[in-house]
């Protein structure tokens, strides 16, 4: 078996689990350390560079980083990464001195962005500082896209969203709000050098069951209803509300209903509770507001009397799994259940809407009517037209839209500069020692067992009566410090230099989590994994295998539960181990391509 090539930045990138899991690869440990140091503005700017909407994401992100967090593997709960991000956003000072300068002399290229959601705004953020002239079109009256129309203000206050959207709009963009683009062809006929489509997945799925049309006055499609609430078109709802669906939109609908007059609000899901799509914390927050969730209820029909909605019938089912683990919802045979209702909100998913893209423009669509998009460049089959966000590869989340926006911006820039969009710029990486003295490091390596801290919430008696009142209060500074100290600094890498090793075993003996081994080389990795002091059964985590040492053995480190505590390096007499700060920043538009 060959030794591990740690010169490939992707190796250490993968060790920083949170950053690796983040679609935008935000350098998480970096900004968490800055939060612990009280450097909120710097922490905010690291986020802003990477994910564009730290204040929004610090409240609403799907947090793919947290299930990946190493704390979750060595303790129980991951670091509250998302809510620490909010701490940076809440406590930052004036950031204007740190924002990029927008050149007054443009580079002569014009780009149209269709949609003003997270993906398109990211493209604008990346291209405006390079001198592009940018036109942005959106049918809403303000920018923000689904962040404004679908996320209720009790989770994301308007001023937080406005602040981060306005930073970008103020980069000299030409905004065309309240402007629904009905034809892509008409835009292509204008003198744009490139067009970016970031129109999201704006169509809520409907449920065509008996009674749907008769009772349409009291049956609402989730995301449309949320948008109407957000733009002040809807101010109330009936006392008895049924919300159909088990995703985050359903959670937002039921909690919004409570604030608009709903008293008896129920959520009904087809599947078992445990397979609900909503994020666990969204479900938790809804249940904290006394929302009742009924699992295994399949909607059958709307009950209508004299043209007025009375309620809804459901069939009771249970989940059965076949040999392949495929789920089937099988009726239990119990009698159908009736729930009375004044209003029903359907929140069972959302879809893309591309009627406005003419079929003869050279943009190919697949059998599901989705455009054919290159997943690296986000180019469509028409060289000028790029996609990003939910419009590109289907509905995901804000952070994914941002990540795709960055990639699309790189492609647009390369395309407009006449370069090959497949020659992508490399990430900016660096690796340098944190050694300050014999046993001193420039990071705080003393780690302790500490439970995850809860984010305090405002009292229900206040939040349920004011839809604008944010429920979560955010960490105070003292708690934020303690939570930040839970971070294991996974970006401080254990770097091993085989020729320096004298095989004294000190690192192996001191390692608190038994990660380090000295073994006779094995034929293949699976064999090696079994031979470790604690067999490495987590295949998603790499083994670091050194070159052959003096005695013919190799050093094998299982990255799985390494604490990055630096004890191996402290107990190493020859500095064969060193704790080195690894930096990985994904490339942005305008950065040089070295190939």
């Amino acid at each position: 078996m060959n030794s591990t090539n740690v010169k490939d930045p992707e190796y250490f990138h993968k060790v920083v689990d949170c950053q690796y899991a983040c679609p935008a690869h935000t350098p998480v440990p970096e900004y968490i350390r800055l939060i612990a140091q009280g450097e909120y503005t710097k922490a905010y700017m690291i986020n802003w560079e990477s994910n564009v909407f730290p204040g929004v994401l610090g409240r609403t992100c799907d947090r793919p980083c947290e299930p990946a967090c190493r704390r979750g593997r060595v303790e129980e709960e991951p670091v509250a990464i998302c809510r620490l991000k909010r701490v940076a956003a809440d406590n930052k000072d004036d950031i204007t001195p740190f924002l990029p300068e927008i050149p007054s002399i443009k580079n002569g290229k014009k780009v149209a962005l269709i949609g003003a959601g997270p993906a398109a705004l990211t493209v604008a953020r990346d291209l405006a500082p390079l001198g592009y002239h940018i036109d942005i079109y959106d049918d809403q009256s303000k920018g923000g896209g689904m962040m404004r129309s679908q996320i209720p203000s009790f989770r994301l206050p308007d001023e937080v969203l406005d602040f981060e959207v306005d930073i970008i709009l103020d980069m000299g963009l030409m905004t065309h709000f309240n402007h629904y683009v009905t034809s892509l062809k008409s835009l292509l006929n204008k003198d744009y050098d490139a067009i970016f489509v970031g129109t999201g997945a704006p169509k809520g799925k409907d449920l065509h069951l008996p009674g749907r049309d008769e009772a349409s006055a009291n049956i609402h499609v989730g995301i449309e209803w949320l948008a109407n609430v957000a733009f002040d078109h809807i101010h109330k709802i009936g006392k008895k509300v049924l919300v159909l669906g088990g995703g985050n939109t359903a959670m937002d609908c039921c909690r919004t209903s409570l604030r608009l007059g709903g008293e008896d609000v129920k959520v009904l899901v087809r599947s078992p509770f445990k397979s609900m799509k909503a994020s666990p914390w969204e479900i938790e927050d809804a249940m904290h507001e006394d929302i009742v969730i009924h699992e295994n209820h399949v909607p059958l029909r709307f009950e209508v009397e004299n043209g007025k909605l009375k309620g809804m019938y459901f069939q009771r089912v249970e989940a059965k799994y076949d040999a392949n683990g495929k789920r089937q919802l099988v009726p239990t045979g119990e009698p159908d259940v009736f729930f009375p209702a004044d209003d029903v909100i359907i929140a069972i998913g959302q879809e893309n809407k591309f009627e406005w893209i003419e079929k003869d423009l050279g943009i190919e669509f697949d059998q599901w009517d989705m455009p054919l998009i290159d997943e690296k460049t986000f180019a469509s089959t028409s060289p000028k037209v790029f996609f990003g966000g939910d419009a590109a590869l289907g509905p995901k989340n804000v952070i994914t839209a941002v990540a795709q926006g960055h990639q699309a911006a790189i492609s647009i820039d390369l395309y407009c500069q006449g370069q090959d969009i497949h020659d992508r710029p490399d990430p900016h990486t660096n690796l340098y020692s944190t050694k300050m003295g014999i046993h001193e490091w420039s990071y705080d390596n003393g780690i302790v067992i500490d439970e995850r801290y809860l984010v305090p919430q405002a009292d229900k008696s206040i939040t349920l009566n004011n839809i604008k009142k944010e429920v979560e209060l955010g960490f105070d500074i003292a708690t934020a410090f303690k939570e930040a100290q839970r971070c294991l600094n996974c970006d401080i890498q254990t770097v091993f230099t085989a020729p320096k090793c004298i095989e004294c075993d000190a690192c192996m003996d001191v390692c608190p989590t038994s990660c380090i081994n000295f073994l006779v080389p094995a034929e293949d990795e699976s064999e090696l994994r079994e031979q470790l002091r604690v067999p490495a059964i987590n295949d998603t985590q790499e083994l670091m295998v050194s070159e052959v040492l003096k005695t013919g053995r190799v050093m094998v480190k299982d990255e799985d539960v390494c604490l990055h505590c630096g004890l191996c390096a402290e107990r190493c007499p020859t500095a064969a181990w060193d704790m080195q700060h690894f930096i990985y920043n994904t490339a942005k538009a305008g950065q040089m391509v070295f190939s």
Partner: protein, 350 residues
């Protein structure tokens, strides 16, 4: 510098029959120099006690003075311990052993603590066959006082300051065999595969067990020319056998080819399995090992492995017929049976 070891452990750390992980056998973080061989020996003691399913409270860690004698802080933090005066560990252990033979005694000592100031104590513990494991962390120098040659430094070994040692080094193993030791082994701190089974067998052995472990001093005696450096020991290490300790709880299903494997049964039924490498040597034959040790010295070799074992060893308590019950649990009426018994006892000598 870290003064505390994180309390984290690998979530899938194996447990022994008592339900303990190795964590329960560890001590505080070492304050010895980084890379000190002694830390590897500490880790080997942890491994041995964990693998033997010894409850930590049944162990007494005994030590004197020196780098070596600091190590009981770094292993078995849940065990008893006695950090004695320089060189007096063997006497303190002898006394403790006579007072309470139910504990497992692990003495750790260094080359100074054993071969210089403690020599007079050491040899008497050997000849009395005190039931203990005596581990010498032998680095051939006085590390705590900046690396002067110790009594076990080999003649000609070059110190860090560049001077060759002009005196003969004391061979602790040869000496112990001469004095009637019943279990003598030699090993290297950098070879846990050999050291751990040797410690396990030593703890199981019924009598005095000496393990002389060459343990490089990374700070003062790991230089070229030193005969106790990592590189030198690795280059001159001659293992007599490959040792495997089979505790009594494990059912033995294989039969051995006795021409190449020595199977030694211990008093409790555990087995020591030795895959012999050297044909002239027999672990039960004193003469063969004394010869081998002399030859090795002449050839600049360091013999390691189990050197000698006396399977019929009778330990001190049995030799002088002490009570099985620890003295601290004997009741007053047993300890002081009254004037009638005293009169009868004195009468025997009338």
């Amino acid at each position: 510098m870290s003064y505390l070891k994180p309390k984290f452990a690998h979530p899938r750390l194996p447990k022994n029959d008592l339900g303990y992980t190795k964590k329960e056998y560890e001590g505080v973080i070492s304050t010895l120099c980084a890379g000190c061989g002694h830390d590897s020996i500490s880790a080997s003691i942890v491994d041995a006690c964990f693998e033997l399913d010894i409850a930590p409270h049944r162990v007494a860690k005994m030590s004197g003075i020196g780098c070596s004698s600091k190590t009981p802080a770094y292993f078995l933090r849940n065990s008893h311990g006695f950090n004695s005066v320089h060189g007096r560990m063997p006497s303190v252990t002898t006394g403790a052993n006579l007072a309470n033979r139910s504990l497992i005694y692990i003495g750790v000592s260094g080359d100074g603590d054993t071969a210089s100031i403690g020599m007079g104590q050491f040899i008497h513990a050997v000849r009395r066959n005190v039931n203990m494991t005596y581990i010498v962390m032998n680095n051939g120098c006085y590390g705590l006082t900046k690396g002067q040659d110790s009594a076990t430094a080999d003649k000609g070994s070059i110190s860090k300051s560049g001077d060759a040692n002009s005196f003969e080094g004391i061979d602790l193993c040869a000496l112990a065999i001469e004095l009637g030791a019943t279990y003598v082994a030699q090993s290297f701190s950098g070879d846990k595969e050999q050291l751990v089974p040797l410690i396990k067998a030593a703890i199981t052995h019924n009598g005095f067990s000496l393990i002389n472990v060459i343990s490089p001093c990374v700070t003062f005696n790991n230089n070229p020319g030193s005969t106790k450096s990592y590189d030198y020991v690795r280059a001159h290490n001659e293992a007599l056998s490959k040792i495997d300790f089979v505790p009594v709880k494990e059912e033995i299903v294989t039969t051995y080819d006795h021409t190449s494997v020595n199977v030694l049964e211990m008093h409790d039924g555990s087995l020591i399995k030795l895959q012999k490498i050297s044909p002239e040597w027999d672990p039960n034959d004193k003469l063969s090992i004394v010869t081998a040790l002399h030859n090795a010295r002449a050839n600049h070799q360091i013999l390691t492995g189990l050197l000698y074992i006396d399977n019929d060893s009778v330990e001190l308590n049995d030799l002088i017929n002490t009570t099985e019950t620890p003295l601290n649990t004997l009741n007053y009426d047993v300890l002081c049976p009254g004037s009638e018994v005293l009169r009868e006892f004195v009468g025997r000598y009338a």
